[in-house]
């Protein structure tokens, strides 16, 4: 997993609506990236729903939340609609998992990312990262707030 203190690896990915989104689009604001295994799997569904519930509180801390998985933009669009998510989902679809791997979140044996959280500060530096011990364990939203509030 990527360590705090180094510049966040750049990326250029399509979001759920097919728009290109790059790391630098978030500069000047804090960015929370939630890497997760797959759209529509039961455990992921819980994870992103919980993050959606506290999205307002994340944004109140001058932070933007995005989700990244290896699913396609079209799949992300359907998943977002199903769960009522309002934050962007980015498609690390082609070349598959390249951005996940750059952040040390890709699981070669599984073919998708693990469950990781990364906080990128306003200057583009990684401020905090967390990787769940297994893809079945969900990092709670409390961890995001610990990081954002500098606990």
């Amino acid at each position: 997993m990527i360590e705090p203190g180094i510049p966040a690896p750049g990326f250029r990915l399509h979001d759920h609506a097919g728009n290109e989104v790059a790391l630098e689009d978030f500069s000047g604001r804090r960015l929370v990236i939630a890497f997760y295994p797959l759209d529509f799997s039961a455990v992921c569904t819980d994870q992103l729903s919980i993050y959606q519930e506290v999205l307002g509180e994340i944004e109140a801390r001058d932070a933007t939340l995005v989700g990244i998985s290896v699913d396609s933009a079209a799949c992300h669009a359907a998943f977002r609609e199903k769960l009522g998510l309002t934050f962007p989902l980015l498609a690390d679809f082609h070349p598959k998992g390249e951005v996940c791997a750059a952040y040390g979140a890709y699981l070669d044996d599984w073919g998708h990312s693990n469950r990781s959280l990364v906080l990128v500060e306003r200057d583009g530096t990684v401020a905090w990262s967390f990787a769940a011990p297994t893809p079945l364990e969900i990092p709670g939203a409390n961890l995001i707030f610990d990081a954002l509030d500098g606990a």
Binding site: I50, E53, V54, L83, G84, G140, A141, N142, F145, D149
Partner: protein, 172 residues
Amino acid sequence: MVSSLGSAAVPPPGEGDHVRGDGPLAVLYLDLACPRCAGSWGRISALPLRLCVRHFPVASKRPRSPALHHAAEAVAAQSEPAFWDFWDSLLGDRAYVDDPHLWERVRAMGLDLERFQADRRSESVIARVDRDFRSGIRAGVTGTPAGFAGTNPLGPDLEAGLEELCLRGERA
């Protein structure tokens, strides 16, 4: 200043909490519109445990959830035994959770319907449900049903964890 959502242990049962039964303490975070909560509630509620139930409505996923939790809290404002009847009934019959069904339950329990309607939208009821949701977030709840044995989180197989807790209680 926004209030904290950072990590904190699950609070022990306190004033305003809903607690029922005798035995080892389990604190549960449930969503009244969650099929998994409903599916396991019959078995969980029959266990010899002291159960403290808390509100954990996941609105984005289940838009009806907050209304049901607010309704349950509005029932509690009139009668704690009625709260438990209402809670059991909502989890036991997920097909009948529209407003007219709620009113029918309130009337059948002999409660004041007008007061119920006012209370369910009151600031204190909304704050009460929010209090539970926030304590769940702070304790790391990431889905429902979630449970704690005292303050220790139980695993994803909640029923198995609670059964184990009962057995430990018997041995203690």
